[in-house]
């Protein structure tokens, strides 16, 4: 146990950042002028959205890497990042529906951005099912890399929806600067940073687990080959 803590000491650096972010989210920032305290869910909402964007970008890059080099490490990167990205997309959808109920009075509307995010979530759920249901390692890696690259088309579209079409989402990041008072920018960027750190830690743990899973699979095959050989 102590060895594990000594090896992963750097994971604990997330804790202070998380606490500072939480302090600014709940205490150190003003209420929204119109929405009151409920606007604070924004910090989780945008935080998860930025992490989901990063995660799916990592998946897309790793998928290209796998298709070119065909090495296991790229597949592990892609798979781990897609899983975590899907979890953060779930967090966007959940925090968004709760906030939507408070702010607009409806759990769900078919706004361009909501639609694009939902499509993204379903596609990556399909991606994870594809991985779950395939048995041959090389096929699984190749097919899921292809699906990930097709699915990634939706990520930039999702980012641009509120700029291309009329949407109920406000545009915060514009060419003229950030459309938000500084007192709310601080908790927003802190949340983004803290959630990105969570993503990094999670990636490290998940990738280690995946390597172990592959190792166990190899061992099983070796034992089976040995028994059949006798």
């Amino acid at each position: 146990m102590r060895r594990v803590f000594a090896k992963d000491w750097w994971i604990w650096t997330v804790l202070p950042v998380m606490l500072i972010a939480l302090y600014f989210d709940f205490v150190g920032s003003p209420n929204d002028a119109q929405l009151g305290a409920s606007a604070r869910i924004l910090y989780f909402h945008i935080g998860s959205a930025s992490v989901a964007g990063i995660a799916f970008t990592v998946t897309a890059i790793a998928s290209i890497g796998y298709l070119i080099q065909r090495t296991v490490v790229w597949d592990i990167w892609a798979a781990a990042s897609a899983e975590i990205g899907t979890v953060f997309t779930t967090m966007i959808l959940v925090s968004g529906t709760i906030w939507g109920r408070v702010a607009w009075g409806a759990w769900w509307t078919w706004d361009p951005r909501l639609t694009a995010t939902l499509i993204l979530w379903i596609i990556f759920a399909g991606y994870l099912l594809l991985r779950e249901w395939s048995d041959n390692f090389e096929r699984r890696a190749t097919y899921s890399a292809i699906i990930a690259l097709i699915a990634y088309v939706d990520v930039p579209i999702d980012y641009m929806t509120i700029r291309w079409w009329r949407s109920i989402h406000p545009v915060i990041f514009t060419n003229q600067g950030i459309n938000m008072p500084v007192s709310m920018q601080i908790p927003m960027f802190l949340s983004m940073g803290a959630m990105t750190l969570v993503f990094i830690v999670w990636m490290a743990v998940r990738m280690r687990l995946m390597r172990a899973e592959l190792g166990v699979g190899d061992l099983k095959n070796a034992i089976r080959a040995h028994i059949e050989g006798q």
């Binding site: 499509i119 596609i123 399909g126 249901w133 395939s134 096929r139 292809i146 690259l149 097709i150």
Partner: protein
């Protein structure tokens, strides 16, 4: 493939005719949606069979070994699926109009364009995904799971475009058709880029 699609779409026309009560619902509002849901389902049934004969008869190896670009195999499969899809749509659309008493305003050109662009949108990713699912254990299931979310943009744009074309007075379908064209272009280019990697396993 062709017979399955045709039989399926005619079956679906009847099922929708029974499911939607003409006395209760204003049919012209739901007509484009019903039309494209039927085409999407029939298309998926047909396209999922694109590679069905290749795997058990092991003709895929022959196709891959054939001299020439593998892109040609993909384009050939795509063209066949597109022609089947188009034929099915051209026969089924008049049946839909007749059974649902949809008034016809004579916009031949734009309706044909929506039908062609929609068919293209459905077959492009359909052909790629059916190549993937043909080699997998629960392939059919994965094909359906992935096809539905990827085809949502096609469904939105074709339904809204058809609605604009058929409404009295006719609306402007071009906003939706341009979106559909963009979708068709992106998802024609991406499978062409990625198709080669599919066979290296």
């Amino acid at each position: 493939m062709w017979v399955t699609m045709m039989a399926f779409v005619i079956m679906i026309v009847f099922m929708f005719a029974f499911a939607v009560d003409a006395g209760q619902v204003r049919l012209s509002l739901v007509f484009p949606g019903i039309l494209w849901m039927a085409f999407l389902f029939a298309g998926m049934i047909g396209i999922s069979r694109t590679y069905a004969h290749e795997v058990p008869e092991d003709t895929l190896t022959g196709l891959i070994l054939a001299p020439g670009d593998r892109m040609a195999i993909f384009l050939a499969k795509l063209t066949t699926a597109f022609l089947f899809m188009m034929g099915m749509e051209l026969i089924a659309t008049p049946i839909f109009f007749a059974l649902f008493n949809e008034p016809w305003n004579g916009a031949w050109g734009s309706l044909l364009l929506v039908l062609a662009l929609g068919a293209l949108g459905i077959v492009e990713l359909g052909t790629l995904l059916s190549a993937i699912s043909a080699n997998l254990k629960s392939g059919e299931m994965i094909f359906t799971m992935l096809m539905f979310p990827f085809e949502i943009p096609v469904l939105i744009t074709t339904v809204e475009g058809t609605h604009a074309i058929l409404s009295q007075p006719a609306g402007n379908p071009w906003l939706w058709l341009h979106g559909l064209m963009a979708y068709d272009a992106i998802f024609l280019a991406l499978p062409l880029l990625l198709y080669d990697y599919l066979w290296e396993v």
